[in-house]
Symmetry: C3
Subunit: 499 residues, 3 copies
Amino acid sequence: MKKLFVCALFLSFIFLFTSKTYAIGKLQQDLPFAVSEQTQVCILCHKNVTPGIVEDWKASRHSKITPEIAIKKPVLERRVSSEIIPADKSSVVVGCYECHSQNSHLHKDNFEHFGFQINVVVSPNDCKTCHAKEVEQYSGSKKAYALDNLRENHIYHKFVNAIPSIKEVRDNSLRYVNASENSKMVTCYVCHGSEVTVEGMKEIPSNFGSIKVPSLNNWPNQGVGRINPDGSRGACTSCHPRHSFSIEIARKPYTCSQCHIDQDVPAFEVYKESKHGNIFFSKQDTWNWNSVPWKVGRDFQAPTCATCHNSLLVNPEGKEIVSRTHDFGERLWVRLFGLIYSHPQPKSAKTYEINNKDGLPLPATYMNELAAEYLINEEAQLLRKNEMKKVCNGCHNTDWIIGYFEKLDSTIEETDTMVLNTTNLMKNMWDKGFADASNPFDELIEMLWVKEWFFYANSIRFASAMLGADRATFKNGWWQLTENFYKIHEYARKCGSEN
Amino acid sequence: MKKLFVCALFLSFIFLFTSKTYAIGKLQQDLPFAVSEQTQVCILCHKNVTPGIVEDWKASRHSKITPEIAIKKPVLERRVSSEIIPADKSSVVVGCYECHSQNSHLHKDNFEHFGFQINVVVSPNDCKTCHAKEVEQYSGSKKAYALDNLRENHIYHKFVNAIPSIKEVRDNSLRYVNASENSKMVTCYVCHGSEVTVEGMKEIPSNFGSIKVPSLNNWPNQGVGRINPDGSRGACTSCHPRHSFSIEIARKPYTCSQCHIDQDVPAFEVYKESKHGNIFFSKQDTWNWNSVPWKVGRDFQAPTCATCHNSLLVNPEGKEIVSRTHDFGERLWVRLFGLIYSHPQPKSAKTYEINNKDGLPLPATYMNELAAEYLINEEAQLLRKNEMKKVCNGCHNTDWIIGYFEKLDSTIEETDTMVLNTTNLMKNMWDKGFADASNPFDELIEMLWVKEWFFYANSIRFASAMLGADRATFKNGWWQLTENFYKIHEYARKCGSEN
Amino acid sequence: MKKLFVCALFLSFIFLFTSKTYAIGKLQQDLPFAVSEQTQVCILCHKNVTPGIVEDWKASRHSKITPEIAIKKPVLERRVSSEIIPADKSSVVVGCYECHSQNSHLHKDNFEHFGFQINVVVSPNDCKTCHAKEVEQYSGSKKAYALDNLRENHIYHKFVNAIPSIKEVRDNSLRYVNASENSKMVTCYVCHGSEVTVEGMKEIPSNFGSIKVPSLNNWPNQGVGRINPDGSRGACTSCHPRHSFSIEIARKPYTCSQCHIDQDVPAFEVYKESKHGNIFFSKQDTWNWNSVPWKVGRDFQAPTCATCHNSLLVNPEGKEIVSRTHDFGERLWVRLFGLIYSHPQPKSAKTYEINNKDGLPLPATYMNELAAEYLINEEAQLLRKNEMKKVCNGCHNTDWIIGYFEKLDSTIEETDTMVLNTTNLMKNMWDKGFADASNPFDELIEMLWVKEWFFYANSIRFASAMLGADRATFKNGWWQLTENFYKIHEYARKCGSEN
């Protein structure tokens, strides 16, 4: 501790009387607006300790504009959605200290760091200072509850514990214990987020000798449903990665692709095979990725994930087509992602609260009776569908869109029927004791059944929704749906459990 | 109807006396050559209704040049291959009306649209006005018959109906009915094309109240073998997507990748893993994608699909290496794509007319006796191979090419042998009644057999042809070919049906 | 022969008195420094014969700088690592002749070509003239021994011969002969390299009539472990492809992806799904790919394969973070790539020399007892791990890195346990005669066992190491590890061979 203090003192001394003035002058010179004194000090060390993120920030919009200027832009051009910005943050650029020092009383990860009170984790609640609407929308979305929707749902919880766990055969029988926290941290929680908790302080080595930092559990993590040490939910950096917080990156499909990828949610693969993807990959370098609002046809000529699902779009003359949303389900009426069937979008973001007729926290029973009271009604579906159609209309005429959605509706129905037919076979095996329903995810035949709805039916639906044909056909498509069904049938036949 | 009329009248009024003059003036200002009056009117509405495609067109070459100028370019630089352009289309840029109004007498999808007679679908027969040679080449190619080659071939027809169809188990036995049209529309027909037919008119909502448009079946669709409402075959937009009709996009492998993708035709995956792909992905942004003719080494440093299979190539001094072709099989001697064996390219684009020794419409019998009279002879193969070698010679010396083709020949032979060995096992099962040959695609064991030639042997051949090693080895390669063979063998052994 | 001579004479004549002076003048005009006379003559023909590689070279650094200038750069900026450059190569740019004429006495592929003594293959030993350190590092690395490590290891040798070989069923039993050389050339040897040998001369056609060239076996090939006709090992062109020899291409992940790809080494797939990949794919076009040394944060904002594994990195102020290495294992402590278990990096590049407690050339026994004397000790591991941590520190703080490595360590342990549990099942089957251990790779059940460690455990480890969650979960992840384990268990249960 004393050593650390001496170090810090020495450091301060050096900084104050020699390089500091020059270095800060240099930094300030590179940037058009004032950098807070605290941020200047952060950078003095961190440009050596973690130069990559300092440079990333210097190339970002955050380093080049102050909130008081940003807030004065015309409404559609504004990236700052809060109506009022606190005075102390208003006239300096958004630097290290501005973000890492906020709401310290809420942050269990707050600690004294070379004279400053710093939060390790910047949370949506901190970003809210300037981006209030986005955080509000996000906080009520399924993404914000991605972790709880796994672990508070006793069905999915079984899944999470069964899959990434060590299996062994002992005394001729197959056994496993629940998956370890570390195993979940590199599988499910990468996307769903972890609960980051603080357990006292620990010493770590640094360039200036050993220093004390908060000891975080379930860290590092950037999953969309992360529960932060201040109690807030989400990680803006999932899509606006550090420390550029780029809108460009968030608008490109590579970002979404980190999680929306096969086998279970092959959105990116389907996109890659679609005409939209074809045009994006061919022409992206000529598009305007940073323009706000985003002009259809002018700034880009084919949609990315963000275009359809969340961006504020205007026509080339600046007239709004759809407004920005950070609730990524807001333009979606049906949930293609089968659990185990596709279903209308849930009303509440907390899907673990669903209680279907069989008493299970699933949007439909195993026999596909919808838990309708937990799902949006037809009117709400129509409203959302119309919102999406406005996006389609950016390039496609109405009849085209009608024809396209007809096919999607047909795909949904047919794949759900296939899932029902498969589940009938599975149910017979459970009923007749050829499989054990107490955990529906931990036997070989059950895994085949899961693949039918989780991998193949999903893939076909996404493929139909975004027209990537192969994913509906030979790659986790009807081919695999069929082959797997045959396998399940053969297994059932051998058990003598067929209907 | 009356409402519509009033709307249109009102619209015309507004247009004529207020915004029209200004808006048209603005449009014309942006473009170097005259825009036809009709196209100007199209754009007046559509810049609001479907702004994306209007902008896309405005950024395209079509909006920036007139046919009479385009046709005067030196021969190798010409993108227009017709010798004569009709006078009325000659001196205006190629706009909405120029394309959507052609040959209206042939178009069953022609309709009156705000005072104009418009075709919904622009077909190759329309593009032919300026691009005669390309359409002629394409119309005689296998691509143009991609739909008929599926549905007129009674073997493949069974395949198409079996795979994307709903299966169920009833009374202990597996049943299915033929795949629905919608199911085919989001699987096979996405690539192969659909037959777009017209069934009267229908009303759809629009910004100006309800309007009447032709009621199209099997629409939307951009498959390469689409049969259009004017009876022509193909969809130029498959590769030159709307409304930029870009040569750049067509030259990039993302375009071909929409259909030439694993499991059955993993051309793009192989390319991605090849040295050619490695260089393309690393350096594409510095290449000249719009240059005609395309200069080897100068405009690009590694080939894409188009380079080898269809582009007009010249050396840096402008001397022709190979001529442009829109018959994409023209530089191919062997068809790697096994049905069920690889084989010399078919003579006719209508492959459903093939009749092999077993009386089947397949290029070889199940025992790999070629239907030689339907396939090009050795001389023709040599001519085509030499054409391809000219492309290789752009960068590789002769001995390199010889060594490379030797390996490919060996791969073809070895994979065909594996398919024969597998088919022998399958044939025994059919002969002995352990499987039913009447439809060779609808039992589990048959699906394993299909995977052997359709997925794995194909993958290995493509991998050898374009040197993407993994696809010959561990990813749908010899590993899977072997593992699957072992499975078939085990199945056969259990049936007691082995040879 | 005579015909050839006349041709050559005629050619020389034409060149000398007409086009030569002009053409050479033109070439020289394009380039800032002197081109050797010999190279000028090479180009006179080859700009027509293989224009692509001539243009590629003209766009390369090799054509634009002389070694004597390159060697004078400040140390960290130097791309030339040799201390002395031979005088005759010093003041001309690095052209065709400069590379293809070196060390001709060592080159069995040296031949007389239109008056010049030319080597077909340029080897690392030739590149060493200017790039001594890189070649030295590479020559002692596992990559240089990639071929021998396959074929000199009797276990892996069985694998190589079993997989890409033709199988057949005769007299009710499954048979195969060893894989053909051609089959290996399009599978294993594409990445591992081939042994290029010379077998006299052969005649090939050329633009100037038939010419004689060395007859090479196992050619073409650019595998990393290629054994060249001069006895040297490796192919610099694997990563710096011809004839740009670009550092940009080598730094991009597409290069590594040719071989480090699923199923067995899914490094590129994991990268694509990681946040690093997300940023790379979104922002790569704005990065400085040719800067030496490579400035963290300034030149790039997310790492590629090269960044972490071999590049010389400096901070934005030019201070070295890690030095360049062409031994790609130098910053690696553990070998995630399980054979059959993960293990500390081997001491020697010749891994076939390992001899474990069971007498097998594997880094661990089947029961995971490490062959410790052949593997680096804990101290050496720590040194290497610290080297890698320096790279991480470019952007991540120390505690982040600690948390991240803890998870990786846990993944390694858990996946190795799963492999052990699977191998126990396999071993029982071998012991009880349900499978034949003499070749552990050529039965169906053995292939399932191999998939467990070769495909799935590897995928999970790479996914944990670079945080591409899907590859640890649903795509060759814990899902497949589990499903496959269940299958092996079921097979074992049926055999009655369980433990």
